[in-house]
Structure formats: C-alpha cells, structure tokens
C-alpha cells in the first residue's frame, strides 16, 4: 500500500511557526511548492480546524492537516513539516504539536489505501519521535518509507 506521494519540496525541517495557523500554512505552502495543491489549500486546512476544532491532532505531537477534495487540490500528495518549537492546537490530550502532516486528496474514492499506509507508519509509536529528531529530508523519507 503506497503512501500519498511525498515530494522532497513538501518536506520542511525545523520550521519556525508562531502559532497553529502559521504551522498549518507552512505545511500548505510546502504542498503548493511541490505542485500538489494551490495556495488556497492552506486556508482551507485552517478553516477546517476553525470550524471543527483541533481534532486533526490525532496522536501526541502529531497533526494531520487536511481539507476536503476540491479545486485547490491538484494531485494526491503529502507534506511533512517539523517544528523547531512545538505549538499548541488546543487539543485536550495530544498538544503540543511537533510535526504537521498535510494531506491533499483529489477524490475520496480510493484514498483509504494511502491513509492505511500512513497508519502503517504511525501505528509505530516511535515514528513521531523519529520525525522530531530528523535532521534532513532524507531522514524524513526514510522514516516514511
């Protein structure tokens, strides 16, 4: 089961984010730089959290930012941003967030295979710690293989 494509340009190590919105926008910019999504996708991901709350913080230290499939998504893809300083998202159990994954999906049909691949990586509880410790894009690619 393949992960959503992870372009090197969609990996940012040690980003400085002022708050959760900034962290999500950095991840959105990374997806845009990789040609995965239009610039507006970042704001759509922020709006999901504004509307529904910090549920995207699905494990300690890890946010899976995403919005719905739509015009802002150009192709399936994943972005990975590790933060130099963790930021709170307001989650009751899993704050603060050290790593933001950004997911862009063109169509709900068939996306479960790639989501299952994400689960395969992160069901191993060391994956988030390994990403926090990653010092290069190659480190990140190795962890997510």
């Amino acid at each position: 089961m393949p992960l959503p494509p992870l372009d090197e340009r969609a990996i940012i190590i040690g980003a400085e984010a002022t708050d959760w919105r900034d962290a999500v926008r950095i991840a959105g910019r990374a997806l845009a730089d990789a040609g995965v999504a239009r610039a507006g996708y970042a704001d759509e991901m922020v709006r999901m959290i504004e509307e529904y709350g910090p549920y995207v913080v699905i494990a300690p230290g890890l946010a899976l930012a995403h919005a719905r499939p739509g015009n802002a998504v150009l192709k399936d893809g994943l972005g990975v941003v590790t933060l130099a300083t963790p930021v709170p998202f307001g989650h009751p159990h899993n704050d603060p967030v050290h790593v933001v994954l950004a997911l862009a999906i063109t169509s709900p049909a068939g996306h479960l295979e790639s989501v299952a691949a994400i689960a395969n990586v992160f069901n191993d509880t060391s994956a988030v710690q390994d990403l926090i410790a990653a010092r290069s894009k190659d480190d990140v690619l190795r962890i997510l293989q």
Binding site: Y52, I58, R68, I105, V115
Partner: protein
Amino acid sequence: MTCFGSCSEDGIVKIVAICGAGIGTSGILKVNAERVLARLGIEADVLAAHLGTLKRDAADAQVILTSAEFVDAIGPTNADVIVVENYFDTDELSRKLEAALGSE
C-alpha cells in the same frame, strides 16, 4: 460474538468513523478499527464519513468512532459513541471497541 442493541439484519456490526472532511482522519480510524476488529474476531462493516452525511450513513450504526470535538454535533443517537484520543494507539481502540461491542 454476541450482538447487542440494534444489530443489522445480517448480524454484522456497523461502525461509522466520523471526521470533518470524511477523508484523512476518519480514514485512519477506519483502517485501524478494521485491524483491531480482525484481531478481536469481530465481523464488522466500518465506514469513513463526515458530519454532512452522518444522518444517512450512521442511521443504523451500532458504534460511532470520532474525536471529542464532534460529539455535540453528532447529537442524539442509538449508537455507542466512542471518543478516540490517539488514532494510532490500537490498544486504546481495541479496549474501547471491545467494551462497546461486549465480546464474550
């Protein structure tokens, strides 16, 4: 397994995973719930859905898996609503699903 509450006609447990978008987080809940249920030997249909289609998708569900943020929006339901804290902690999922489904 013993079937409690509103089992579907074919006796297979119906579980719906809910998130805001219907992709991503609910998908992770779905795949991990399926893994845990297979381990527990419980036959179930697990559907990933979002709040917009909840009424249609969860009308006959026995269990709804979700985050604390969505509990109020889900509203009154006959299903057991299970709040998951760590989506990648299959032990947590296993414990909560087993409690809700009352396996022997």
